[in-house]
Symmetry: C2
Subunit: 151 residues, 2 copies
DNA sequence: TATTGTTATACTCTATAACTATA
DNA sequence: TATAGTTATAGAGTATAACAATA
């Protein structure tokens, strides 16, 4: 056996790729509050799909308190805003500022390059295939998850 | 747009799948010290591929101090043993006990079922394809990584 | 002097619990 | 009474630094 046995383990491979991705993304998103997570929140804010902080937190795999801190930072940086939801004034509607949209546009390209660097060992069709397979797994709607639903 | 935009993000999908995997694996490996990580260390120990704790730590994406604690727990549970490497007595050679091998055998099947549950939305050929693609990304040998090398 | 592994310590990150305001 | 969000606090997890043994 010329290859370590852990390397045939799905969990190991998943973890290794995930770590590599996070490292690349953090390098590219160093200037953005919250790094990769902040980027995902900002994306959701720009798309106006943040029904509530809790829904967004769940979708992103975060605790609601972590989401509070994250948005605090993004708001302090002038990238997003929250205002009470008129329909339910306990909840906050998250929206991106002009600066936030600009920041997203600017970083999106760089992040894409970082992704491609992580996917470098794969040919272009394989990259798309992997993206599709992962998305298919990630967006499965089972259990009690209302987190895939749009606003 | 009927689907949240974050869901077309590779990082989001990778994170979501990874979180789902870890949750499943932790449930199945609840009895094993260190959970999924302990499992990976145990696998390496059984295969006798743990040249040094540091090499193994790097391969598994852990700090060397974390590796110490992890092995402490596995050793206390009687699953692995460490003894000085005759070739370099600073290093420890990690090996599995009979109980460790039994434990790995017993949990491997359960873990495989947990994996398949995570991969459930995919057809069998797609699952294999995903495993291959991830492994291809994870085992790329670049930079200064001697961590893919066998012992 | 450099390196492996250990230990102690400090730090970061996350989750728990209590609170405010809405419903 | 229950829920969204916030805040403070405690806890888990991680990394840093100092050390002992060996190279």
């Amino acid at each position: 056996m010329t290859t370590p046995a852990v390397e045939s383990d799905l969990g190991w491979a998943l973890g290794a790729v995930f770590r590599r991705y996070v490292r690349s993304a953090e390098r590219v998103l160093a200037g953005l509050p919250g790094g990769p997570r902040g980027y995902q929140v900002l994306t959701s804010a720009v798309e106006g799909e943040a029904c509530s902080q809790q829904t967004l937190a769940h979708r992103l795999g975060l605790d609601k308190t972590v989401m509070t801190y994250l948005i605090d930072d993004l708001e302090r940086a002038g990238l997003v805003e929250r205002r009470p939801d008129p329909a339910d004034r306990r909840a906050r509607l998250l929206s991106a500022t002009a600066a936030g949209r600009d920041s997203l546009t600017a970083t999106a390209a760089a992040l894409r390059r970082a992704e491609d660097e992580v996917l470098a060992p794969l040919a272009a069709p394989e990259r798309d295939l992997l993206r599709d397979l992962l998305r298919k797994l990630a967006t499965r709607e089972d259990a009690n998850e209302a987190c895939n639903a749009p606003c």
